[in-house]
Symmetry: none
Subunit: 150 residues, 2 copies
């Protein structure tokens, strides 16, 4: 299970060093083979290859003449790029994706269960502040949440 927040910096070549504590897990799970793609919230998603493939299978089965389905396919599958950890545990983020998420120097890598999210550090902080301020307002809670006890 991938969790936790890591503040990292891209090196001069646009590479991202994955923190050591995840490497064993990733090596065992997917031999360092990952897929990056984009998210609606202007961040990147980083999946271990097998997890991505499962999602991809679900996506291609969606009805072709549904607008939102089509949109999702174009965003997710359309930007998905395979990339491998190099000898030093780094991945090279494709320039178009780097640009999409406005990644400059400092980024945050956030574990989200089966995947990571990659945010520009400043963007992440802004977003998080909004979420905290918003509280539970601004959206009906799904029933699973109503009864959630932490």
């Amino acid at each position: 299970m991938l969790r936790g927040l890591n503040e990292l910096s891209l090196d001069s070549k646009g590479r991202l060093a994955i923190p050591t504590r995840y490497r064993d897990t990733l090596d065992r799970h997917c031999e360092g083979r990952m897929v990056v793609t984009v998210d609606r919230d202007r961040c990147l998603l980083l999946y271990p290859l097998p997890d991505w493939e499962e999602i991809e299978r679900k996506l291609v089965k969606l009805p072709s003449y549904n607008e939102s389905a089509r949109r999702l396919q174009r965003l997710l599958i359309g930007h998905a790029t395979e990339c491998e950890l190099d000898g030093s545990g780094r991945i090279l983020l494709p320039p178009p994706l780097r640009e999409f998420a406005s990644l400059e120097k400092t980024v945050v890598l956030i574990g989200q269960g089966n995947k990571f999210e990659i945010w520009d550090a400043a963007a992440w902080n802004t977003q998080r502040a909004e979420w905290l301020a918003a509280g539970a307002v601004g959206g009906a809670l799904p029933p699973e949440l109503e009864s959630l006890s932490l």
Copy 2:
């Protein structure tokens, strides 16, 4: 069951010494393996690993395209960091989390049943004063509370 309030201080490296009276319980329950994450109220939550995993299982099952669910996942799972008690019964709080909760020198560790909360001491005192002043006003009570007898 974790209870009680403890005023503690972080050492120069950001480590927090867990009071002795909890150590046996924690050792037996989770061999000192804990998870820290954040809370909407700008404090940290400290779970024994197995308890955290249960919550995490619930969280990852929530629908991906529900705003509030997504927010919760990002905050809770996104900040969750595993950390182990060292030989002296201390845990190292990750700098980003320390910063999140504005933990300086003096903090309070508060038992909350299945978890601890960690507050900056000053912030805690302010909050508590507000709660006391506010009383039960300012919010409809959920049905479980209406019928609660203390």
